[in-house]
């Protein structure tokens, strides 16, 4: 991919990202015009239009405390899921790999279920215990899965995939069982497992942002290693890549970053699986280009899906339903239209 095309892609993506963030802040069930939305955003960010915004009353709150942070959070979570999806597809050399292959989703869901069912109260760093437990269990699950698959000093990829699946199935079964026993919490647990950004605000954005920034920076430094790992572990070792250390570091980083995201948003499927594939159709497989664009693309997709989820019915729909309903046909269309190999 030549420099010119790359710059053009990058500029377009950034403009689209900002436009989508502002556009998604404008949509919603409450009646607020586009001008009012822009005025409120400019007022809160740069102190402009103070008089106009003061006259808007609770609309300012809706835009600045609910819609915008929610759109931003959706963007960040969507981006992170896609980024980690891209990393896992490279490490596992498997187009079916998504951010949840190592059992993060079921671990998080299990933690959240425990929190909801047993009404664990209290808070930690401003988060309720449901989120904290989701984070803890997600991280622990990844370590557990890794250690099951580990033979000697290394964990084989097939073993990792299989132990991830086994642990996921096991935890999912327990979750289902708990749901049936504690039926009063059934709806809460079920909608948590489908993911939602309902009533999320700045505190959640602030919680995930350090993980996402640090995580992304570390992941980006491994782009070249990922390119080489794609050629096969033996080749990678011959090129001087310490595959096992790379994998371990990336598992640790992605596990922590994803756990943070999943603990605030619940499990949102499909975005992390398809975004890297769609981006790869345009940028090619080089991770230095693929991963940043995956982040932006995933963010835009999630932001749009969440806006649909919160405005189409007038009540909230779990965003995981929207990502799959819209994402799957779009992906199939692209697969057919481009008629190229995905990986």
């Amino acid at each position: 991919m030549d420099k010119k095309k790359l710059t053009a892609y990058l500029v377009t993506s950034l403009i689209v990202s900002v436009a989508v963030l502002v556009g998604c802040t404008f949509f919603g069930t409450a009646d607020i015009t586009f001008t009012q939305t822009c005025q409120i955003l400019l007022n809160k960010m740069f102190g402009l239009f103070s008089e106009e915004v003061a006259a808007l009353g609770s609309k300012g709150t809706i835009v600045w405390l609910l819609r915008f942070p929610r759109a931003l959070l959706a963007f960040l979570v969507g981006g992170t899921l896609s980024l980690c999806g891209g990393v896992y597809q490279a490490i596992f050399k498997n187009p079916m790999a998504d951010p949840y292959v190592l059992g993060i989703s079921s671990g998080a869901a299990f933690g959240a279920t425990i929190g909801m069912v047993f009404n664990v109260s209290g808070s930690f760093l401003g988060q309720n215990m449901t989120s904290v437990l989701a984070f803890l269990f997600a991280t622990v699950t990844v370590f557990f899965v890794y250690n099951i698959a580990k033979v000697g000093r290394s964990a084989h990829i097939t073993s990792l995939l299989l132990s991830g699946t086994a642990v996921s199935q096991f935890l999912t079964a327990i979750i289902s069982f708990l749901m049936l026993i504690y039926t009063t919490d059934m709806k809460k647990i079920y909608s948590w497992t489908l993911g939602s950004f309902s009533a999320k605000s700045w505190s959640h954005v602030i919680l995930v942002i350090p993980y996402i920034i640090i995580g992304s920076i570390i992941i980006f430094t491994y782009c070249r290693d990922l390119d080489i790992i794609m050629l096969g572990d033996d080749t990678a070792i011959r090129y001087g890549v310490n595959t096992e250390k790379t994998k371990k570091t990336l598992f640790l980083v992605t596990a922590l970053t994803m756990s943070a995201c999943v603990s605030v948003s619940g499990i949102i499927g499909f975005v992390g699986l398809i975004s890297p594939h769609i981006v790869r159709l345009f940028t090619g497989p080089k991770h230095k280009v693929l991963l940043p664009f995956s982040f932006l693309f995933g963010g835009v997709v999630m932001c749009v899906c969440d806006t649909i989820a919160r405005s189409i019915l007038g009540s909230e729909i779990p965003v995981g339903i929207v990502t799959a309903i819209i994402g799957a046909p779009f992906f199939i269309y692209l697969l057919r239209a481009k008629k190229t190999e995905v990986m």
Partner: protein
């Protein structure tokens, strides 16, 4: 004579085929005759026995019992309450996991619930006269029970009128029609009394938060009964049950009163809710999920007026002082 192998096979098959057809015809005629005879037999029975009861359930299904039921299985907490309220508690031999009222029900055997499924074997073993459900129950149970000749009656209630109708039906099933009518008359009088009292005050808006901003719409029993206490339910307009209302909609509609069905320490206040009138004026009420009031108002049973009057006092604080 000069038939080829294929022709022979063809005719042979044809012959065999037509023979089969005759057999089928004969079978069909026999069955038809049998059915007519058995229908006629049924017809003769109708109304012949004394004490036979007939009623129509919420699905429009006509159910006939030879006599008022002695062994009732209830998979619905509201139905369980009704059975006790008409004074037929001793006929209830099995209940669902969720049936927790009245206190006497604690001794009744648990048979499962509508989500996890019910023990059909046990129901047959109990020789149940009737199984009463609300809405639907775990897959296949109705068919399996029908096969065992145990009628399944659906008593569904989305509105207040449906509750009265349900009580009437429970009265018929248990043979306590007079008690059922007395209960209905009392409920109607109490509700009218409450409605009249509330009408004296200004109409106020309410948001009920069952957790995570899930609320009750007009399709939900609770969402609908609020209009009896001169109260506007801000989630009323949704066409489906338990809508999860966006936080911005709650802020925009600005309810006067906010009821949370959890203890205060578990309630996570969404950002920006301080601007809502209810939060500004301290009209946020917490009812613990396990508080009987939650059951009273969400469960369309004989205690709904009692529960509604608790809600009415939260919506119209003047009610308390008026008394």
């Amino acid at each position: 004579m000069n038939q080829t192998f294929y022709e022979r096979r063809y005719y042979g098959e044809k012959y065999l085929y037509s023979g089969e057809k005759d057999m089928k015809k004969l079978l069909a005629i026999t069955l038809a005759v049998l059915m007519i005879v058995s229908f006629a037999a049924c017809g003769n029975d109708e109304g012949g026995k004394t004490g036979e009861i007939t009623f129509t359930d919420s699905d429009g299904k006509k159910i006939t019992l030879s006599e008022p039921a002695d062994v009732i299985v209830s998979i619905s907490p509201a139905v369980t309450e009704m059975v006790f309220a008409v004074g037929a508690g001793d006929t209830l031999k099995a209940k669902s996991t969720w049936c927790n009222y009245p206190a006497e029900v604690a001794d009744v055997e648990v048979i499962g619930d509508a989500y996890t499924g019910i023990s059909i074997e046990r129901i047959i073993e109990l020789e149940a006269d009737i199984v009463i459900i609300t809405g639907s129950t775990a897959a296949g149970a109705t068919e399996a029970l029908a096969a065992a000749n145990i009628p399944v009656c659906n008593i569904d209630f989305e509105t207040v009128d449906a509750v009265y109708e349900g009580i009437t039906n429970i009265g018929i099933i248990t043979g306590k029609t007079a008690e059922a009518e007395a209960l209905n008359t009392k409920l109607k009088a109490d509700l009218k009394d409450l409605t009249d009292k509330c009408a004296a005050f200004e109409k106020r808006s309410l948001f009920i938060d069952w957790g995570g901003l899930y609320s009750s719409s007009k399709v939900d029993f609770f969402g609908g009964i609020l209009e009896y206490i001169n109260c506007e339910n801000i989630a009323y307009d949704y066409e489906y049950t338990s809508p999860q209302v966006p936080a911005e909609t709650v802020i925009e509609k600005n309810p006067d009163v906010y009821i949370v069905t959890s203890a205060q320490e578990y309630f996570e206040k969404p950002a920006g809710f301080d601007e809502i009138a209810a939060f500004k004026n301290g009209e946020v009420h917490y009812i613990d999920y396990f508080d009987p009031v939650c059951d009273m108002v969400s469960r369309p049973g004989p205690r709904f007026v009692e529960g509604l009057s608790v809600i009415a006092e939260m919506v119209h604080p003047e009610l308390k002082t008026a008394e």
